[in-house]
């Protein structure tokens, strides 16, 4: 059974862990901005969904879990992978379609996998991974290994049948899983109010007799604290928990989205709540970091991201002879 050795409540986080939360959010922001540049340069193809604005959700939640707790997420998955500690160079290489990418160039941006980090994948069928989260949790429950599962998905997923099937199954079987809904108010270009009868998503989970709560997805400490509480309960065998993180994506749904459906002013207002700026301010006021320390962090993430691009650039493309490899696991 894995222990929560270094997971103190949010209020008791030591300075270096607070700085680590900030650093991870900055890394994601820089990585995503660089990915957009690389897409414009046509180094990256396919669909590219960026996480700018939502960094606090992944960083806060994932930092509250153990490293061997399994994580599944949707196609907007770079932030979750980085928060989990997946190698930035291997993520960028995957975006570039290189052999050295985390999925060997088979998955691309939407399908990052790193099972050694218990990062069980990014999935591109809206809501299609919630059932898998239930199954992984079932395995943990039977194997009594102390691991729990966290499953991230968007507000768009909650109107799929699989959402309801999964919540119900998790509840009746008391599965050790945290359902983490990232409510950014849009599914592609569709405002949640136009397609959801109940827009307070956490209320839907209440229908399946599990604790559910709305949390501030722009606040990394709140994300951390609430996920930690949910994780303790889930790990104790009390069944699933549901969190609805209120957040906002700054960019279009994907790089192909000109955002004709919403006005810029809305995004600008959300930027005032920016999770990195506000957390930096808090840490500065509390005397945890100063301007110099912040500059150092900026330089550090800049280096990491530049190095990731260099690694991706210099990596080989997949071998054509390998086209058929991994369709099946060959008999060993």
């Amino acid at each position: 059974m894995t222990q929560l050795i270094d997971k103190p409540p949010a209020k008791e986080l030591p300075n270096e862990q607070l700085i680590e939360l900030l650093r991870k959010m900055m890394l994601i922001r820089r990585f995503e901005t660089k990915a957009a540049e690389m897409y414009a340069k046509q180094k990256i193809a396919g669909f590219l969904h960026l996480y700018n604005g939502e960094e606090a959700v992944a960083v806060g939640a994932i930092s509250a879990l153990n490293d061997d707790d399994q994580l599944l997420t949707h196609y907007r998955d770079h932030g979750h992978a980085l928060a989990r500690g997946v190698e930035p160079g291997r993520i960028m290489a995957e975006l570039f379609g290189k052999e050295t990418g985390v999925s060997g160039g088979r998955g691309g941006s939407m399908h990052l996998f790193d099972t050694e980090k218990s990062f069980m994948g990014g999935y591109a069928i809206v809501c299609g991974h919630l059932p898998l989260a239930c199954g992984l949790a079932l395995a943990n429950q039977r194997l009594k290994n102390g691991r729990i599962v966290i499953c991230f998905f968007g507000d768009g997923a909650v109107n799929e049948g699989e959402f309801h099937e999964s919540l119900n199954l998790a509840a009746v079987w008391k599965l050790p899983v945290i359902f983490m809904c990232e409510n950014n108010f849009y599914g592609m270009g569709t405002d949640i109010r136009r397609v959801s009868a109940v827009i307070e998503i956490y209320k839907r989970a209440a229908a399946y007799a599990m604790p559910s709560k709305q949390v501030d997805g722009m606040n990394v400490l709140e994300m951390y604290g609430e996920t930690l509480k949910a994780a303790e309960r889930v790990r104790a065998g009390e069944g699933p928990s549901f969190l609805e993180a209120i957040c906002f994506r700054y960019r279009g749904h994907s790089m192909a989205d000109p955002e004709a459906y919403r006005d810029r002013g809305q995004t600008e207002r959300w930027r005032e709540l920016d999770p990195i700026i506000t957390f930096r301010k808090t840490l500065t006021e509390d005397g945890v970091i100063d301007e110099g320390a912040f500059q150092t962090l900026e330089a550090e993430v800049e280096d990491i991201v530049n190095e990731a691009v260099r690694f991706a650039e210099e990596s080989p493309v997949p071998q054509l002879e390998e086209l058929y490899t991994h369709v099946y696991k060959e008999d060993s």
Binding site: H111, P131, L132, G135, H326
Partner: protein
């Protein structure tokens, strides 16, 4: 050799695997307390308890998805989907997840699970309970598709399915459950991709799978009376497909008829016909014939239903037309 029903052969194999490995779990609707809609899992709930033989909600998609996740997490799940008709509600999980995870993760994830389902018509259950969609599954790279005919097949192929590292769709024709046959006493497994030649003859090759092998064997009797000897091939698995056995037989007989309960248009029989054309065109004395289910949703009335399914006389006539 013991005489055993198809259902009994499946049950015995499930029971042995549950005994052999704690991580084997069965999941499905009414497989536990009720005993399974086709009684395949009867008694297993009492023997292994509700945590090994798990009754699920009527939620095909999450049941299959949870099976996939459980396999990813180190268990060996066997999911029963009652019938192939209901498997359509789980198509997303089967096609988008089970079949893709190994490839998309570059081999980091494997899905060692078996999804069992009953299939086929013949019990006057009308259109929504009588489909034979084996060919749809066979279309998908990343999964394997097993279609046993004899009780010996059922046991030997299920054994192999248990040892697979890949998702297996295991399809059981409802007309076969009560049929009996010889099953070897010793431990054995039948590898995937090995068809069985059920009967040998030099004049025509008849190719069937699952329930349709029964009608095909009946056709061979009719042909014998007409002075023609048929090779009857029971495919046993559709993916992988035993192309060698099919082609070797056609090289010998120069004539082929493919039989299936499923619809002809866009179906698996067409795939076999195409393979024969590609691999043995010069050996053929005529076009490959197909005898398939009628292109209609299955009707309820007995006479209508029977007329929509391949019968021995039809198959024999199709074969004789090749001479």
């Amino acid at each position: 050799m013991a005489e055993m029903s198809f259902r009994g052969a499946l049950r015995l194999t499930l029971q042995e695997e549950l005994q052999a490995d704690e991580n084997v779990i069965l999941m499905g609707e009414d497989i536990g307390a009720y005993g399974g809609s086709y009684s395949v899992t009867k008694g297993l709930f009492d023997e292994f308890g509700p945590e090994r033989v798990m009754d699920t909600p009527i939620s095909e998609s999450v049941v299959v998805g949870a099976g996939i996740g459980a396999a990813m997490g180190g268990l060996r799940p066997i999911v029963e989907l009652m019938t192939i008709n209901f498997s359509l509600l789980a198509l997303d999980q089967i096609v988008n997840n089970a079949a893709k995870l190994s490839y998309m993760s570059a081999g980091q994830i494997h899905v060692p699970m078996v999804i069992r389902m009953a299939s086929g018509a013949g019990s006057q259950l009308s259109s929504q309970h009588s489909q034979s969609l084996e060919g749809w599954y066979a279309h998908i790279p990343g999964i394997k598709v097993v279609v046993p005919y004899t009780p010996r097949d059922a046991r030997g192929l299920l054994k192999t399915a248990f040892n697979e590292q890949n998702p297996v769709i295991f399809i059981e024709h409802t007309a076969l459950y009560a049929r009996k046959g010889e099953v070897p006493d010793e431990d054995y497994a039948i590898p995937f991709g090995q068809a069985e030649v059920m009967r040998e003859g030099a004049d025509v090759t008849l190719i069937g799978y699952s329930g349709s092998v029964y009608q095909t064997l009946g056709a061979a009797d009719i042909l014998e009376e007409a002075g023609r000897e048929a090779d009857v091939i029971n495919l046993r698995t559709l993916r992988p497909l035993d192309v060698d056995t099919i082609v070797a037989s056609v090289r010998k007989t120069h004539r082929a008829v493919v039989i299936e309960d499923d619809w002809k248009f866009g179906g698996f029989a067409g795939e076999i016909a195409a393979i024969i054309m590609e691999e043995a065109f010069d050996d053929l004395d005529g076009p490959v014939a197909r005898v398939c289910g009628a292109d209609v949703p299955m009707p309820y009335a007995k006479a209508l239903e029977q007329s929509a399914l391949p019968n021995p006389q039809q198959i024999a006539d199709a074969a004789l037309a090749l001479f």
